[in-house]
Each structure stands twice: as structure tokens, then as C-alpha cells.
Amino acid sequence: MHDNSSDGVQTRPGHVLGDDIIVIKNIYKVFGNVMAVCGFSLNVRQGEVVVVVGPSGSGKSTVLRCINHLEVPTEGAIYVDGIHLEDEKTNINAVRAEVGMVFQQFNLFGHLSVLENITLAQRLVRKRTTQEAERVAMEQLERVGIPEKARAFPRQLSGGQQQRVAIARSLAMNPKIMLFDEPTSALDPEMIKEVLDVMLDLARGGMTMVVVTHEMGFARSAADRVVFMDQGCVVETASPRTLFNDPQHERTKLFLSKIISH
């Protein structure tokens, strides 16, 4: 499965992958009479960047949400950093503090300033002092390039700026893993790049990332592997170059022809 050899090394020089940090074992998820995910397995290694693509409704979001337990798989098991999420004794809040999630709709807290958005969980979950939390917050705002917006409120920011704040908010928790669910899909075209640049930077820095996106440029330059999903299952997994240039399955070809045509 780990065919990140040539492409991975080429696009991400000096990049060494560690042990499996996410292990997804044959999960199923049923909503009413909809089978959203059926028999999905995936191992992600420390430092690896996995991009998940697939048609709308193919279960990408559901898989991602299972990884931080926002959804509970109907069957199967997920281990994050060796911890079994579905085990009742697992302290899920402790696991979530290690797994950042970035949503399509940003989901910034509307009643809090940018700075407060970033310090809230640091103070409540990481138990940092306000001073320490604000220092970390400013560091992360510098990293995503908008330190001057610290005192602004989310509604005063553009979509691209809001998404960068959302990324900074997750990063401030010093997570081991970052999950992205179509982070640029709700953005105007001119704002997509500023968000992708932040994500690329993160990937180059060695962050373990699982990214649902249709940005093929991002996948090509950042992904170690691309997973193509359809109807709740993995159809094929390959390096971005192999998957985009030489897909093995008809369904993959069909899907790629649709998204590349526009």
C-alpha cells in the first residue's frame, strides 16, 4: 500500500515517514438506510500526507469525521496513535486535542475575537495560562500570515482569512494530526491559494495530514498518497502521479475526466 517511494521523495525531499499513526480497520457507517461507508481501511504513517478524492456523497467526510469520533462507525475499529477510539474507556477529548480538524464552513466561534477563538481550547483543554495561550496564538497567526487580525471578529474577515484562522486555531493545540474536509470548497477562487499555501507549508513541515480536496495541484505537490473513494469504498490508492496520470479503474478515470474538464 505504501507506494510513496519515488513520488514522495521527489516532491518532499528529505521527508521520512514514521510508524502508522492512524489505523482504520474495515469501518462501516450506516445512516438510516444509507450506507455511507462500507468496508473502508487505511493506514496513515507519521508525517504522511494523504489526499482523499471522490464524487460527492462517496463517504469522504464521514471517514474523516470518524477519525476524530464526530461520527462513530457502525462497525470496524479506528486507532489513533495507538488509542482505540471506539473503546468506551477512551477519553475521546484527549484524543481530539491531538487531532486538528478544519471544516469546509470554517466554523469559527462568532462571538469571540480571532485571538479568543485560538486561545479558548488552549486554556480549557491544554490548561495554558491566558498569557501562554495568547503567545502561542500570535505565533500561529504569524504562521498563517494574519497577525494583524488578532483583535478582529470572524464576520469582519474574508473567507480565506477565516479559514486561515481556523487552521491556526487547530495548530495552536499542537496536534499530531490535521484533518481537512474540503477546506477551500466554500472559498472564492482568489482566496483558495492563500489557504493552500498554508497547507503546503504545513505538509513540508512534516505534519501528518488527511485532506479531502479536489485541488489536484495541492495533491500533486503535497500528497504522499491519493485515495480515490466511491460509494463508501476505496477504489484505488496510489501516488498522486500514478493516480492522476495512469489510473487503473474505470471509475477513477471517469471521475478524473469530470474534475479535470473544468
Binding site: 477529548n93 480538524m101 466554523n107 466561534f109 462568532g110 479558548l120 480549557l124 483543554v125 481556523a166 487547530s170
Partner: protein
């Protein structure tokens, strides 16, 4: 519970700042006209003046309140109406918040307790509930808590009744407020590692409360009006004072017009403040 007429325009202006005949709040002119007319009557007509002084409570309200400065100034009748409303509303806010949280709880037991309370109260007329709470529920409960059933004044019973009744209404307001906050807010909070309570307290509730402030304002006005019902417990609020005055002098018109004047001036002032506040909220939201 809201159902207010809403207008984005400055009073009496169209969008361009010009005088607008159709948008002008003639209704407000009419109401203020009535209030001014009543004011002049009270100042000049001895019968209205007597009714006013009696109802506002210069002549004997409840012991204790008479001596306090503010009651001496505005009159004990008005003081009782206002402080009954304020205390009952404050308690109702606490009950309503707890019941509203219970209403959205995932715990089946807690949720059903909350729903039982809310539906029970909503299914019984306010006046009937005031009698029931004051005479049927308060005595045994206070005895259980170690007071004699008689030691609780009728005014306190009225306040307890109004609190319990409005707690159920406010629970529904808080529930609607909580549900108006998008699920993504909770998910973002939980995905950062906040537990359910922390997400509710630090992320959902602050936004929910901001969303329901106008509705709470309307319920405060409704509570001010419904405080008149505790006059059936012989509490000497302005309604009871008006009934006493009418009964002893047979000046029905003067008594009830003055009473109407008193309520309307309080509710109109509150409602204008609320409109202004809502408008400010909408402008800030942009």
C-alpha cells in the same frame, strides 16, 4: 412570542433620510397622545388626581415598602408591580435556562422531566396556575423546607407562581436559542477537545443568549403585564389598588384609565428601548 413589527428605518424616515408619510409611526403618535392626555387629566382633574395617587400607592401599601426611599417616591403600588416583575423575571431566567438545557439534553430522564414541566405549565391558564401555586403548592413545600405555610406572604407566593410559569416559557426561548446555533459550532469546539459541557457553556450558550435577547425582552414586557394577575392574591400592586379605589369610590372610569395609563407608559418605554436595541443588533451583525 415575538411577532413584533420590524422596521429597518429610522423613525419617520425613508431609506434616504427624507420624511416618509407611509413609514411614519403614526401609531406611536396616537399612543403618546393618549399618554399625554392622561397625564394632563391627572394633573388638572381632582378625580383623576385622587385615583392616580391612590393607585400608585401613597395611601398605605404593604408595610416595610412604604418607608424605603424609592417606594416613597414612586409609590408602593408601582414599587410592588416593578419589583415583583424584576424578581420573578430574574428567577424565571434561571429556571428557564436550566429547563431549556434539560430540554435539549441527551439524557432521556432529564429531557423528560424538562418536557413534563414545560408542557404542564403551557397547558394550564396563567390565572389558574397562580391560584394553584400560591394555595396548593407553596404551603406544603414551604413546610417541607421548614417554614410554616402561613409565613410566606402573598406577594412572595405571587412571585413564586410567576417565576414558575415564565420559567416554562423562557425554557422554550432558550431551547430555540440553543437550536439556532449551527451544529458546526459544537463540532468545531468538540474537535478541539472541549467536552460537551465546555462546548455548551463557552461556545453555544453565549451565542444562543445573544440570539434570544429580543425575545427575552418581549417576555419581560409580557411578565410586567401578567404581574397584574397577582392582584387576585390580594397583593397591593397597581391593579389591586385600582380595584380597591374603584370599589370604594365607584370611580371606575378614572381608576381603570389611570391603571391603563400606568401599564402603557411602562410597556411602551420598554418596547421602544427594545426596538432600538434590536436595530442596533442588526446593524452590528452586518
Amino acid at each position: 412570542m415575538t411577532g413584533e413589527v420590524q422596521t429597518n428605518l429610522q423613525i419617520g424616515e425613508d431609506g434616504n433620510g427624507r420624511f416618509n408619510v407611509r413609514g411614519f409611526p403614526w401609531w406611536l403618535v396616537a399612543i403618546i397622545g393618549f399618554l399625554i392626555m392622561m397625564f394632563l387629566l391627572i394633573m388638572t382633574n381632582p378625580d383623576y388626581n385622587r385615583a392616580f395617587n391612590f393607585i400608585k400607592g401613597d395611601f398605605g401599601g404593604i408595610e416595610g415598602l412604604q418607608d424605603s426611599g424609592i417606594a416613597g417616591f414612586i409609590g408602593t403600588g408601582i414599587a410592588i408591580t416593578i419589583y415583583t416583575t424584576l424578581i420573578a423575571f430574574a428567577v424565571a431566567l434561571v429556571i428557564g435556562l436550566l429547563a431549556g438545557l434539560g430540554r435539549v439534553s441527551t439524557n432521556v430522564f432529564v429531557r423528560n422531566i424538562a418536557i413534563t414541566y414545560i408542557e404542564f405549565i403551557r397547558g394550564v391558564p396563567t390565572l389558574v396556575l397562580i391560584f394553584t401555586v400560591a394555595y396548593v403548592i407553596v404551603p406544603p413545600v414551604s413546610e417541607m423546607l421548614g417554614f410554616s405555610g402561613q409565613s410566606i406572604s402573598n406577594n412572595s407566593r405571587g412571585i413564586i407562581a410567576l417565576s414558575i410559569i415564565y420559567g416554562a416559557f423562557l425554557a422554550e426561548v432558550f431551547r430555540a436559542g440553543i437550536e439556532s446555533v449551527p451544529l458546526g459550532q459544537t463540532e468545531a469546539a468538540r474537535s478541539l477537545g472541549l467536552n460537551g459541557r465546555q462546548a455548551m457553556r463557552h461556545v453555544v450558550l453565549p451565542q444562543a443568549i445573544r440570539n434570544v435577547l429580543p425575545a427575552l425582552g418581549n417576555d419581560f414586557i409580557a411578565m410586567l403585564k401578567d404581574s397584574s394577575l397577582i392582584s387576585v392574591l390580594a397583593v397591593r400592586d397597581i391593579t389591586q389598588m385600582a380595584r380597591l379605589h374603584a370599589g370604594s369610590t365607584f370611580r371606575f372610569r378614572e381608576s381603570y384609565l389611570v391603571l391603563t395609563f400606568l401599564y402603557l407608559s411602562m410597556t411602551i418605554a420598554l418596547s421602544l428601548f427594545l426596538r432600538w436595541y434590536e436595530k442596533r443588533l442588526r446593524q452590528n451583525a452586518r
